[in-house]
């Protein structure tokens, strides 16, 4: 799907010569439609998600090849490439370092502090225990300092990457959706105990369906970023991405049985996987060895989860 949405966007932008944002829109719509297709089979017809996903991999890989006539399409216009490779730089000028990046960093730090403070006030309002004020202050200052240090490094390099903003927006959005909304709660409830969720009035089919559409959209975002980054749409793009995604989720603390895991965890898992791959790439380790290492890491991550669970049950 990553490849398919990337391909669609490439066809629209490169072959048809449409502006970059039409390509992005086309990719997102395609992603959503693919999600509708997948969700239909899983949530409405009731085919196991695993099978539908497997079939979807074949179907959309095939459609990618047809869309692209089996050749790579490139190059994308520079605006499009900007999504993945661009930096926001020099918008506010600056002597040797990028002021804009520092402003973004400062906004993030202040935003964090403000939301923490608000949270604390709300808790006090509800007479809930809060940490001591000095501890709170130290914690907030520490996080703010880390954010600023990071922004300083970026400012001294090439400025704020566009993808970072995109990522931050996605993390914030999904963190909010999963943790704070009724919809997010329903997802966790279904993962924890499907029967109990049903009997608590969760419309499980609807939630499942929407989740698949959401997955389609996210895959489209990945497709756009990937095609923009590689400046081409290739029939083989996104090959084995599914495994990286699974690995990231598990390393980030999701469970095979469902019902646990957080967006932050998945991001950390994704970062670990990506840093590992990237590191091995830079060290010049053979591709075959890289695959072995990634596979082993995945098994170990899940084994850790299983072991952890066993220990937790034995405790009781």
């Amino acid at each position: 799907m990553v490849a398919f949405t990337g391909a669609v966007s490439a066809v629209v932008v490169i072959r048809e010569g449409m502006p970059w944002w039409v390509g992005v829109l086309a990719a997102l719509i395609t992603g959503a439609l693919v999600g509708v297709w997948q969700g239909f089979w899983v949530a409405v017809v009731g085919i196991p998600a695993f099978i539908v996903t497997l079939a979807g991999m074949l179907i959309f890989r095939g459609l990618t090849m047809q869309t692209l006539d089996n050749v790579s399409l490139s190059p994308f216009p520079s605006e499009y490439q900007y999504i993945a490779g661009g930096f926001l730089n020099g918008l506010l000028g600056g002597p040797g370092y990028d002021v804009f990046t520092l402003v973004i960093g400062a906004l993030a730090a202040v935003g964090f502090a403000w939301s923490q403070w608000r949270n604390r006030m709300r808790k006090l309002e509800y007479r809930q225990p809060v940490e001591a004020l000095w501890l709170f202050a130290v914690r907030v200052l520490l996080v703010a300092a880390i954010i600023m240090a990071f922004a300083w490094r970026l400012a001294n390099a090439r400025g704020t990457p566009v993808v970072l903003i995109l990522l931050a927006a996605l993390v914030l959005l999904y963190g909010f959706v999963t943790q704070r909304t009724v919809f997010g709660r329903h997802i966790y409830a279904m993962g924890g105990n499907l029967q109990a969720a049903k009997l608590s009035g969760v419309k499980t089919r609807r939630v499942n369906f929407l989740l698949f559409i959401n997955m389609g959209l996210l895959a489209a975002v990945a497709g756009i970023v990937y095609s923009a980054r590689s400046n081409s749409a290739q029939p083989g793009a996104g090959f084995m991405f599914e495994l990286d995604a699974i690995a990231a989720a598990f390393i980030g603390g999701a469970a095979v049985t469902g019902g646990v895991g957080k967006v932050q965890g998945a991001i950390i898992g994704g970062l670990i996987m990506a840093v590992m791959s990237n590191g091995m790439q830079i060290m010049g380790i053979d591709q075959s060895t890289q695959n072995v290492v990634r596979g082993v890491v995945l098994v170990l991550a899940v084994a850790f989860d299983v072991w952890n669970k066993k220990r937790a049950t034995a405790d009781r």
Binding site: A196, L199, K203, R316
Partner: protein, 519 residues
């Protein structure tokens, strides 16, 4: 009691069996002696410990996990698993049949005991032997027929054929006729008698007392994890006398101080169902609830007394947003007006709440904390605009934790770690938070200790006093009598009686509950 005519020749003696689960003593000092070549019935209410005892016997609970000893033909045995007990000729047939529907009759009979040489299955022998075994149980079917295409009665016979293939000497049947119609039951009981002639000893667990009177040679009554007495069924007393004695043994327990007092103030009718029919989801010819009608008024606690398999849970779940069964027909009314309930959220919207009998499977998200379990069904109230007010949520959970006295370190504790009674209170909180008008409680005190039971009863009373309509499903008669104002009895899917709790007796209820109506 008259002296038994035949010689004492016990095939099985279980002595002082005590089995503990965390927090509960399921069996305490139970003894059971079964004579060779007899049909021995075991009677008791649900949860009395019958099944636990049989699991101890068959090695499902391995030796060492219980106290006491088991003597088979006079020699002590210790089974570490079901294979050990089967090797000694003890075969247990569970109420839920363990057949693989897509495999053939012959394959099922020899499942785990395949007729093979060097690992290669001899199909000819398998099928020929299967036909022989089927003849012994009086079943005439093609051995290659898939089991799933046969009726439950025939499947039961296949289970017995399977047991025979293992050279069974002691056959244990757990509620063998619960799912059968009269003809099939009759045939099965006849078969058990025939097997007795062939020297197979049989232990039969059953709720149907008429059946027991007809077929058993002796009967052991178990109550609250202890043996009450063993009756000789050939001691000259009439079947009515024996049945009465068994009922007394099953229910006679001290009821003093178990149930808190309550001022009853009954208001207008809240809930009513008329002519409710439900068909089994996978067996289209099995009508599980057959024309049930009942009503509950505000402030009233109404009981549905029925034994396992009577269709109690099926009735409740089909009403609660069609969560069980197919071809559900009949009308549901709230406050005298018919309402359409298509799914669970409709039911919640109309003020119906259902507390399942199986809280772990259907009630709780075990890996989640108390807070999120409490708010799971009423989450919309915390999220008028779609996002949850996390602080209000904690406040709500805290409120229920203190008002229902949920003993947990905090509302952020994971419910998996709580005791059964506290878990049940969490489920209750969850439904109370939806502010229901009708609360259906399915076996609300199953698997929780006496102290917690009392608390749950008090909560139920408070709710009734607050004007809620309460429907309690229970197979524990003292509970039904102690708690309810009015009682419906349910037997094989039909309402067989409606009695005022003040006038009801356990014996009278048990009679209605075991009444086998014509189909």
């Amino acid at each position: 009691m008259t002296v038994r005519t035949h010689v004492e020749d016990p095939i099985l003696q279980m002595r002082s069996i005590t089995k503990r689960f965390p927090g509960v003593v399921a069996l305490s000092d139970v003894s059971l002696t079964v004579q060779r070549g007899e049909i021995h019935a075991i009677c008791g209410e649900n949860g009395a410990g019958k099944s636990t005892l049989m699991k101890v016997l068959s090695g499902v609970y391995p030796a060492g996990s219980y106290d006491g000893e088991i003597l088979l033909e006079g020699e002590p045995v210790s089974f570490s698993g079901i294979n050990d007990s089967e090797a000694r000729g003890i075969v247990i047939i569970h109420q839920e049949l363990a057949l693989v529907p897509h495999l053939s009759v012959a394959e099922n009979i020899f499942l785990g005991n395949e007729q093979s040489t060097a690992g290669v299955i001899n199909w000819h022998e398998t099928n020929v032997k299967a036909v022989e075994l089927m003849e012994r149980v009086g079943l005439r079917e093609n051995p290659v027929t898939p089991v799933g295409t046969l009726g439950v009665g025939k499947q039961q016979l296949i289970e017995i054929a399977k047991a025979l293939s293992k050279n069974v000497r002691l056959l244990i049947l757990d509620e063998p006729t619960a799912a059968l119609n009269d003809d099939d039951s009759e045939h099965l009981l006849g078969l058990i008698r025939d097997l007795r002639e062939e020297g197979v000893t049989c232990i039969i667990i059953s709720h149907k007392l008429g059946e027991i009177a007809a077929v058993a040679d002796s009967t052991t009554v178990i109550r609250d994890g202890s043996t009450i007495e063993t009756l000789d069924m050939h001691d000259g007393s009439t079947p009515e006398q024996t049945t009465a004695r068994i009922i007394r043994g099953m229910v006679g327990r001290d009821m003093e101080h178990m149930y808190p007092e309550r001022e009853v103030e009954i208001g207008e009718e809240i809930f009513r169902i008329e002519d409710w029919h439900v068909t089994h989801p996978t067996q289209p010819d099995r009508v599980v609830v057959d024309g049930a009608s009942l009503y509950v008024r505000a402030g009233e606690v109404v009981g549905i007394a029925g034994l396992m398999g009577a269709g109690r849970t099926e009735l409740a779940m089909s009403v609660f947003g069609r969560s069980w069964g197919r071809e559900i027909t009949g009308t549901v009314s709230m406050h005298g007006k018919p309402v359409q309930i298509r799914d669970v959220s409709d039911a919640i919207e109309h003020g119906i709440a259902y507390v399942s009998e199986d809280r772990k499977q259907y009630g709780l998200n075990l890996i989640e904390d108390v807070r999120r379990n409490v708010t799971a069904a009423g989450l919309k109230k915390l999220a008028p605009a779609g996002w949850v007010n996390a602080n209000e949520e904690i406040a709500v959970a805290e409120r229920y934790r203190s008002s229902l006295n949920i003993k947990s370190p905090s509302v952020l504790s994971v419910v998996e770690k709580l005791s059964g009674g506290n878990q049940q209170k969490v489920v209750l909180s969850k439904w109370l938070y939806t502010e229901p008008e009708l609360l259906i409680l399915d076996e609300p005190t199953r698997g929780i200790d006496v102290g917690a039971k009392f608390e749950i009863y008090s909560i139920i009373n408070e709710l009734a006093a607050a004007g809620k309509a309460i429907l309690v499903i229970s197979s524990e008669l003292p509970e039904v009598l102690g708690l309810c104002d009015r009682i419906y009895t349910l037997s094989v899917g039909r309402i067989t009686g409606e009695v005022d709790a003040a006038e009801a007796t356990q014996e009278g209820l048990m009679e209605l509950m075991t009444k086998e109506t014509d189909r």
